[in-house]
């Protein structure tokens, strides 16, 4: 039973959606997102992520089920819930002919802000997202990454308690993605609950504390990021060496498997339950000087794929 629990930024119960063409996008979603959480919603294309966001933002009508935002029903407390929400959609959805500054100030007007307050808010978020210098440019002149940042600035202008981002870094280069991560982390530290859908699993792993994986309209995994990553049985580490490798390092342990990659690097596979200090000791004993080390695979990707398979 759904209770009014304001500690949850979002509470979803029994959410279903069948589109007019008969496609059942959601098959009974139950999901809670804690206030101040940084939450990842992952799933392959067509899994139902955008449909959930569409229903929360009222752009899509649910077939059945309920959604509460900070304890208030989206269907009955439209004004209060919408005031708490900031939505950054997957596709660009601002006028290509308007100026950057006007887009943000206009959005402020829809939330009852105008004049100096609207201008101050627009300046604050355009500056934070490095778009202030572009405020008088037509939005169509912005690059892809700038357009995505503009959508974030627009979603924040009324300072919502809950920000939902639908693949905000799709097509954004790595440097810009990192700066967006930092911005979102700062926002989360300052009390904004963030729900993120993304295809970049590394992004979810770096940013989010809790995660739900959705596939074919159903939640197949809903847990903390730590617990999910703990499910991994083995990990593969790549070592880069200072000198050329004459022979592969040998480990006196059946759990450790070692393979060469090239003349200056090799990979080691071992259980996640054990520490890796022994590896360094063994390598040091064999005179192998390590320049660097990294995880071979995106660990979350493995879990994601295994969740979908199961």
């Amino acid at each position: 039973m759904l209770t009014n629990n304001p500690k949850y930024a979002i509470s979803i119960r029994g959410l279903t959606k069948t589109y007019a063409n008969g496609f059942q996008a959601l098959k009974g979603i139950d999901l809670d997102v804690q206030e101040n959480d940084f939450f990842a919603l992952l799933g392959p294309n067509g899994a139902g992520k955008s449909t959930i966001i569409g229903i929360i933002s009222t752009l899509v009508r649910a077939s059945s089920g309920t959604i509460q935002v900070f304890g208030q029903n989206v269907a009955t407390h439209v004004y209060e819930t919408k005031l708490s929400l900031g939505i950054v959609p997957q596709e660009i959805n601002f006028s290509q002919f308007e100026k950057v500054g006007d887009i943000v100030i206009t959005q402020a007007g829809y939330y009852g802000l105008r004049g100096e307050l609207a201008k101050q808010r627009a300046e604050k978020y355009l500056r934070k997202l490095d778009l202030w210098e572009k405020r008088d440019n037509r939005s169509r002149m912005l690059s892809g990454g700038m357009k995505r940042r503009l959508m974030i600035a627009r979603a924040l202008v009324h300072e919502p308690r809950l920000l939902i981002l639908d693949e905000p870094t799709a097509g954004v280069d790595i440097e810009l993605r990192r700066s967006m991560w930092e911005f979102l982390q700062e926002l989360n530290r300052n009390g904004t609950t963030i729900i993120l859908t993304t295809h970049y699993l590394e992004e979810a792993e770096s940013l989010c504390r809790n995660i739900a994986i959705i596939n074919q309209g159903q939640i197949v995994e809903n847990t903390s990021m730590r617990k999910l990553l703990d499910k991994l049985a083995r990990q593969t580490l790549i070592f880069d060496t200072c000198d050329e490798l004459k022979t592969l390092p040998a480990f006196n342990d059946s759990d450790i498997q070692c393979n060469a990659i090239d003349s200056h690097s090799f990979e080691v596979s071992l259980s996640t339950s054990r520490d890796i200090n022994g590896l360094y000791a063994a390598l040091s004993d064999q005179g192998v000087l390590i320049k660097g080390m990294r995880n071979k695979t995106n660990r979350l990707e493995e879990l994601f794929l295994s969740s979908l398979k199961s």
Binding site: V60, Y79, L85, I87, N93, F94, D102, G109, Y110
Partner: protein, 257 residues
Amino acid sequence: MQANHIYIAFETILIKEVRRFMRIWLQTLVPPAITIGLYFLIFGNLIGGRIGQMGGYNYVDFIVPGLIMMAVIQNAYANVSSSFFSNKFQRCIEEILVSPVPNYIILLGFVAGGMARGVAVGLIVTAMSFFFTSLHIEHVFLTLLVVLLTSMVFSLAGFINALYANTFDDISIIPTFVLTPLIYLGGVFYSIELLPSFGQWISALNPVLYMVNTFRYGILGNSDVNIVGALFMLVVFSAGLFAVALYLLRKGTGLRQ
């Protein structure tokens, strides 16, 4: 939503709409001025002199109110249908739909934008008419009332058109195949007294006839139709179309899946 927030949201949509048609003034304000100016020149001055009197007035004086009303109708309709559909097409309507702006404010904002363009074009065309004739407005208040009500009716119609439209073709079909015949057969260029009785009966079913003639009465003081009945019809049309548009908006027609 608090009353002042509602007003700010309405003002925001209206300002955005006015800014839009002012930004593209070469597409929105100049073409009707040129087209209606040519009507004044050709039908009013060149041909009108040979036609002589119509409804007891010089032909140019007779057609000026009708042509002003034609410009108001076409531009009020076109502004809302093209702007709202363009918002749908670019998906920027989602900016408003995800915000707490009530449906009736969304509707009023776009309709007020359409009325603003209708009135702006009406004023430009009226100013142009002074180059061809000297207008004397008999009933100023009635003239303004008819312009506002007519532009509201066609803004609402344009809004409903845009809700149903899926392509840009869908917002040009109604103006081409419905609006233009209604306007041209609505007594802009002739008095319905010239028509045979059957033609007069058919014309009586055309709502534009009442709008044009009520406006003409406001300017010239003479009309083919009952003014009180025409005003009542305009109010009923406004209320009816507003109710239909609001119902469709609440239902999410063309907007929400």
